[in-house]
């Protein structure tokens, strides 16, 4: 019971990171594909403006997830980080490069400098979700056994399913970002950008949907147990919910209801995470380790959950305030014109 609760809290963190952090990474994807220096400039400026006040807070969700995992499920955490050392290390490296490059971007002195920084930022924005996705895929594929580096260091995360999840992570991030940025552009009163992002949101949404359907086929052949979980009970409900929310997002984007689309897009992605969790239940590291077995003692879980509860009580209002200020355009460097 306590273990399940701790898992649920961890999954809330995972979901928040996949949605908020994923959108941050996705913004980097659009930065990468925005085109030449001249043509891409307005898109890049919008991305910077929307991301600057919130990216640090979005990022801390990852730290939250890591801390929850190692406290509540220490042995599983040890197994994950040793077997999946390579993709996790690459992701960590990407996070550093990305943070550094983003902070410096726009301050560049020369065009060559700006290009190099922009490329670093954009490229690592694509690589980080990819590697984190493959790590999650390796868990789902049942490639991570308990023990210090007991799994295959390369083979565990380079199978079809992990690679697939990596791609899905990149595409859903891009879709979320396009939807969010479209709404941000509308608030900022920049109709041309609104349309640029609407096109991107629709395109990436179709690709993400196609990938998700293809994904079910992959899961069916690679991880039959997971497939069963996804096609029955709560898992199935989540899959249907995700599909419905995804379609709703496309419809809302089509009809230019950008603010509402934010929430449906987030719900579609969140439902994927929830569906995965339900499908894998009761296992944390399939095929052998259950959530219950991997959990720390009740005393630890109780203390952690109380701490997390109190923490959330402080955190959520603060976070809501931050997003409200950011969305209403009241947070910006004074160099920029006031809205």
């Amino acid at each position: 019971m306590l273990a399940d609760l701790a898992m649920a809290v961890t999954l809330v963190g995972v979901t928040a990171y996949v949605v908020l952090g994923g959108a941050d990474f996705g913004a980097g994807f659009w930065d990468l594909t925005a085109g030449g220096a001249e043509r891409g400039a307005p898109v890049r400026a919008m991305i910077k403006r929307a991301m600057a006040p919130v990216w640090e807070a979005n990022h801390v969700w990852l730290i939250f997830v890591l801390v929850m995992l190692w406290t509540a499920f220490p042995e599983a955490f040890g197994a994950l980080t040793s077997t999946l050392a390579i993709p996790l290390f690459l992701a960590a490296l990407g996070i550093v490069l990305r943070g550094g490059a983003f902070a410096l971007k726009g301050e560049a002195g020369t065009i060559a400098e700006a290009r190099a920084l922009g490329a670093t930022f954009a490229l690592s924005s694509v690589l980080v979700p990819f590697f984190l996705g493959t790590s999650a895929g390796a868990i789902a594929a049942g490639e991570v056994p308990l023990g210090n580096a007991a799994g295959d260091e390369w083979g565990s995360w380079t199978g079809t399913l992990p690679i697939f999840v990596g791609l899905l992570a990149v595409v859903t991030g891009a879709h979320l970002a396009a939807v969010f940025l479209g709404a941000d552009s509308q608030r900022a009163g920049q109709p041309e950008l609104v349309h640029a992002f609407r096109r991107r949101a629709l395109g990436s949404g179709v690709v993400a949907g196609a990938l998700a359907i293809a994904g079910l086929v992959v899961v069916n052949s690679e991880a039959p147990d997971l497939y069963d979980g996804l096609t029955s009970g709560a898992g199935l409900a989540c899959v249907i919910g995700s599909a419905a929310a995804g379609l709703a997002t496309l419809a809302l984007e089509w009809r230019e209801r950008f603010e509402v689309a934010r929430y449906s897009a987030a719900a579609a992605v969140a439902a994927i995470v929830a569906g995965w969790a339900f499908a894998q239940e009761p296992y944390l590291l399939p095929p052998d380790v259950t959530v219950q077995e991997a959990a720390a003692s009740d005393a630890v879980l109780t203390a952690l959950l109380i701490a997390a509860g109190l923490g959330m009580a402080l955190l959520v209002p603060a976070l809501v305030w931050l997003f409200r200020l950011a969305l209403s355009g009241r947070l910006a460097y004074e160099e920029e014109p006031r809205p």
């Binding site: 006040p53 730290i63 190692w70 290390f89 210090n148 203390a303 952690l304 200020l325």
Partner: protein, 414 residues
């Protein structure tokens, strides 16, 4: 590798701990006096604070990854014992990230009172964060809150582990160190500006505020250091022996000043406040349980020497300010200031080396050896090299950004 990451992260932590307090203090001065210079300076500092915080977030993320990537066995065995501390630390970090963003991006957009109020959660979160990380370190030095049966960790009491008895002196020591490093680093920058001839009111104000924080804290730190050393003497006698390079157990042990000169009985006096106290030597434990003495002794000396020097510098400043109401005007004072910033970082890292290497070969004191905690995954040297390059790049980025910030025109509102 983790050592390298920590060495990069710790100085940034100091700014996370102390810089918000300095910025909020300046903003408070502005609200009290209405002098726009204070506001302009606070604004400028808050941007530097954001840059350093951003780099801190990134290095902090790397650290939490590395906990698992490098020490899976340590985490798998003890993750639950001290995890609570990191859980709270995670939240503190979160709160700091949120409020720092609101603070820095909210200048002139929030009512002044609301704005300054936003600064306080940042200070508080910085304190809470260091509290919890230090709690883990204190615990590693004196593991409590669990027992081991048949090689399994059982009966975990996370609260006992959190409030281990090493917490208080280590926390005080680190928190004050944060103010010293941040204060002296900032003062060092303004000291350099003074030497280059920029001696207007803006630069002097910056110098005085930053230096005041550091100077008031530095002498207190000497007392706290004594407290820490006595605690170590009592609880980790072998670490003390390594600090002093004491090979054999002695009663009324002498203190070696350096170069073979010894003060009789001084070590016993310092460590136990009793000239005839017995100090245990390294030979009381088998060789494989002894820490590497040379580096521990050297870094401990470096920390104490620099700390004393910084305290003296602080006292000099406070005395002049109090008696004459101005800064010392000599070149040497400002040259010393320029040196004080980097030196304070050296002392910080030396102090950290002292406590960490002094604990070797244990990762959890007298419970788990470092070699048993490390990962079985291959390719660590490759990762080490890659990460080293990334840190060099990060340092360059931070430097370039701070330079750019410093060169921007300084605008004081009319």
């Amino acid at each position: 590798m983790q050592a390298m990451s920590f060495a990069v992260h710790i100085p940034l932590v100091c700014f996370g701990i102390a810089f918000p307090a300095m910025v909020v203090f300046l903003e408070g001065l502005w609200l009290r006096t209405g002098d726009p210079l204070y506001k302009a300076l606070a604004k400028r500092w808050s941007k530097a604070m954001l840059i350093l915080f951003a780099i801190g977030v990134v290095t902090g993320t790397i650290l939490s990854f590395e906990m698992g990537l490098l020490w899976p066995e340590f985490m798998a065995t003890f993750g639950d014992v001290f995890g609570l501390a990191f859980g709270i630390e995670g939240f503190s970090f979160f709160m700091e990230a949120i409020f720092i963003a609101i603070y820095v991006y909210g200048w002139d957009r929030l009512p002044p009172r609301v704005h300054i109020a936003v600064g306080f959660p940042v200070i508080l979160a910085g304190f809470a964060g260091s509290f919890n990380v230090i709690a883990v370190n204190g615990w590693m030095n004196q593991p409590t809150g669990f027992s081991i049966r048949n090689g399994e960790v059982v009966d975990v009491e996370p609260i006992t582990a959190l409030f281990n008895s090493n917490l208080w002196h280590e926390l005080t020591h680190m928190y004050l160190a944060g103010f010293m490093v941040a204060g002296f680093m900032v003062a060092s920058v303004y000291g350099y500006a003074w030497l280059r001839g920029r001696r207007d009111r803006r630069h002097l104000t910056g110098l005085v505020v930053a230096l005041s924080f550091a100077a008031l804290v530095a002498p207190v730190q000497l007392l706290v250091g004594d407290w820490s050393a006595r605690t170590v003497a009592e609880r980790q006698p072998i670490k003390l022996a390594a600090l002093e390079g004491l090979k054999e157990t002695e009663k009324g042990a002498p203190f070696e000043v350096g170069g073979g000169i010894e003060i009789p009985k001084a070590l016993s006096l310092l460590a136990f406040h009793d000239p005839d106290a017995t100090v245990r030597g390294l030979d009381t434990v088998p060789e494989e349980d002894q820490p590497p003495t040379g580096i521990v002794k050297l870094s401990f000396r470096a920390m104490v020497a620099i700390g004393t020097g910084l305290a003296a510098l602080g006292v000099w400043f406070v005395w002049m300010w109090w008696r004459r109401g101005r800064l010392p005007r000599t070149l040497w004072f400002h040259r010393a200031l320029v040196a004080a910033g980097p030196l304070s970082v050296v002392a910080l890292i030396a102090g950290w080396v002292t406590t960490e290497v002094g604990r070797q070969p244990w990762v959890v004191y007298e419970v788990m050896r470092t070699e048993d905690a490390v990962t079985g995954a291959s390719g660590i040297p490759v990762g080490f090299a890659a990460l080293g390059l990334v840190y060099v790049a990060l340092a360059a980025i931070a430097y370039v950004m701070l330079r750019r910030l410093a060169r921007k025109p300084f605008e004081v509102e009319a």
